[in-house]
């Protein structure tokens, strides 16, 4: 059976200065999401996670171009679709949660207005049944006394509460998949866990699939079934969460895991040495080689192809960890 969402060799570039500067924000990304599962997308900021998400719903900045690739939702390619057709897919089949809850809600409209919109446009609900639906959605994200609070405006709510409203909006059109782009990055640490639990509960109740974007591996461990690790516009390693934590294959994944501070261990925090590359001017060969402790000559000239790991997953490296050096 076809997966719920299949992204294949997606390339999305920002073209600026009359075509002289091309930022290869997404450069050959492939992954799939099955119904009901949570796929994680991790990587340092600036590696192209948000661009990937926006490309999937085809809501990109004017300077961005989807250069190639397929985005199949239930077997249907979204790339050739018109904006009018995409509108009927956004909110109804793919919903999105943005990073900053303080900026995601329109300050001039009530919570009711904003939560009702997807149900109004996608499910044709009106009047009483729309009200009932909004109340039920707010209940599901645990807004206390929803009948009262839905008359409120965004400024009357805390960040955590607003992000729950955004969660309710995401649910409102009855989507099969929700893209959550760093949904807890701007929340207080104490609220983060609450919100993650809420998302899990919603998922259990509705069977919706999640693409969960984060730069925090701790959250990945809690939320995700499978993970893609992104570096400089490419997915360099994809594995189940267990596999990724117990047997990372790409040196970048290894470095990310090593940079998680460990409780009770008094050693200097080791970040990853060096800087992420400029996506408009990528190094030759493997993009990671300038920072890679395992780099060999081949990594400097030739870009590694993605190859399947036995079992499940894939890695883009000439010399993956735990494999004999002989294959190079």
């Amino acid at each position: 059976m076809a997966p719920l969402l299949l992204v294949e060799d997606l390339r999305t570039y920002y073209v600026g200065f009359g075509g002289t500067r091309v930022v290869k924000a997404v450069d050959g990304v492939s992954f799939s999401v099955e119904a009901g599962e949570t796929f994680g997308l991790v990587g340092e900021s600036g590696c192209g996670k948000t661009t990937t998400c926006h490309a999937i719903v085809r809501l990109l900045a004017p300077s961005a171009r989807i250069v190639s690739g397929r985005i199949e939702l239930e077997g249907e390619d979204l790339v050739p679709k018109s904006q009018g057709e995409m509108r009927r897919i956004r909110g109804r089949r793919i919903a999105t949660i943005l990073q900053d809850p303080m900026a995601s809600l329109d300050p001039l409209f009530s919570i009711y207005d904003q939560v009702a919109e997807p149900a109004y446009y996608h499910q044709g609900l009106r009047g009483r049944s729309l009200r009932v639906r909004v109340k039920q959605l707010l209940d599901a994200v645990r807004i206390p006394s929803p009948e009262l609070r839905m008359k409120d405006y965004p400024h009357q709510m805390s960040g955590g509460m607003r992000q729950r409203i955004v969660g309710a909006i995401a649910q409102a059109g009855g989507p099969r998949i929700i893209i959550a782009d760093e949904p807890t990055t701007n929340l207080d640490v104490t609220i983060q866990l609450q919100y993650l639990n809420l998302l899990k509960d919603l998922q259990r109740a509705t069977g919706v699939a999640l693409i969960f974007v984060t730069h925090n591996l701790g959250i990945v461990a809690k939320m995700c079934d499978r993970v893609g690790v992104m570096y400089a516009g490419k997915i360099v390693e994809m594995q189940s969460v267990r596999g990724l934590f117990y047997r990372p294959r790409h040196p970048y994944t290894r470095a990310l895991l090593d940079s998680i501070p460990k409780l009770g261990v008094r050693e200097a925090l080791c970040g990853i040495p060096g800087q992420p590359p400029d996506l408009a001017d990528l190094p030759r060969g493997c993009s990671f080689h300038p920072r890679c402790p395992r780099a060999v000559d081949r990594c400097l000239d030739e870009e590694p192809k993605s190859h399947a790991l036995n079992g499940d997953g894939s890695v883009r490296c000439w010399l993956p960890i735990g494999e004999p050096a002989a294959n190079g």
Partner: protein, 324 residues
């Protein structure tokens, strides 16, 4: 909201008091009106009498206190030049200025707002470039220059439009029917001055509308509305418009008053008998009460409108409306 309104009202009162004080001082820096009225070598007794009857022989603080206390009773004093109450002269001229100001205002809105929106919606397109050109022309070509060009082309060479004055229709105070003919008759006289006056402001309106709309269109909340699958027309007409119109309307409202009150150059060029011309004449004659009156009335209108806009703003924006 109550607190917000009170604070705004307090600001308005303080602003007005400052204005009263400043204008009182400033007119007195323009020179001695008595010296202007009385020829050199005039009878000193006559000069002294003139000075006394205008109240200029009293010490400055006396003049100031008298001025303020009369103002509080709604009395703006008598014009030196015409010996009539300043208020009467002002209100006789005001309808003419309102007529010109409104026409110019409508013109600047009709040109600035839709083209500003279009520029923002089709950013970097042909429309946007055309909009930028128009705005630049509006801001860089002075109204009096546009006025003179119009006069030469349409008034003199083509002879299509009358060049001077406002036409014969007038308002009779207390007779509402005269207002209607006043507004709609003699429109041919209105076209050129309104265009020349509205010209500058339409460029400014266009810029403000465009940048306000662009800010809003680039915001996260508009992105989320689009991500909900709301039709693009609703995104623009409901969410983007409401959010971007608040600053536009604030600016437009103030523009209206500026156009009513300080269309001095345009009124002088077209010999339009409004308050701008009144102020011009009063300044040339050092007619202190007249200058003070016109400036204060303008200031009062601006402060009152500003206050009204602030309060309306409060009603549109729930962040203010629902505060205490």
């Amino acid at each position: 909201m109550k607190r917000y309104v009170l604070v705004r009202a307090l600001y308005s009162v303080v602003t007005l008091w400052l204005l009263v004080t400043i204008i009182f001082g400033l007119v007195r820096l323009t020179g001695d009106p008595v010296a202007m009225k009385a020829e050199a070598g005039a009878d000193p007794a006559y000069v002294a009498q003139l000075r006394h009857s205008w109240g200029l022989d009293q010490p400055l603080h006396r003049q100031y206190l008298g001025f303020v206390s009369r103002l509080l009773r709604g009395d703006f004093g008598h014009s030196f030049e015409k010996s009539l109450p300043v208020r009467d002269i002002y209100f006789e001229r005001l309808p003419n200025s309102l007529k010109l100001g409104f026409a110019a205002f409508l013109f600047s809105l009709a040109l600035g707002v839709p083209f500003g929106m279009l520029s923002a919606l089709k950013v970097n397109s042909w429309w946007d470039s055309a909009g930028k050109m128009v705005a630049l022309l509006g801001l860089s070509m002075p109204g009096f220059f546009v006025g003179l060009v119009l006069i030469i082309i349409f008034g003199i060479q083509l002879g299509w439009l009358p060049v001077l004055g406002k036409g014969p229709s007038a308002v009779v105070l207390g007779e509402p029917s005269t207002w209607i003919t006043f507004w709609f008759r003699d429109w041919a006289h209105l076209v050129m001055p309104a265009f020349a006056l509205g010209w500058y402001f339409s460029g400014a309106m266009l810029r403000i509308t465009r940048s306000g709309m662009l800010d809003v269109l680039g915001s996260d909340y508009i992105k989320l509305v689009r991500l909900k699958g709301v039709p693009e027309s609703v995104v623009v007409a409901k969410h983007a418009l409401k959010n971007s119109l608040i600053p536009v309307l604030t600016f437009a409202g103030l523009n209206l008053l500026v156009m009513v009150n300080v269309a001095i150059v345009i009124e002088v060029i077209f010999n339009w008998p409004g308050v701008g011309q009144l102020l011009y004449d009063a300044l040339s004659n050092r007619d202190f009460p007249m200058v003070q009156g016109v400036v204060l009335m303008s200031g009062l209108l601006i402060v009152v409108l500003n206050f009204t806009i602030d309060v309306l703003y409060g009603y549109v924006d729930p962040r203010i409306r629902l505060s205490r």
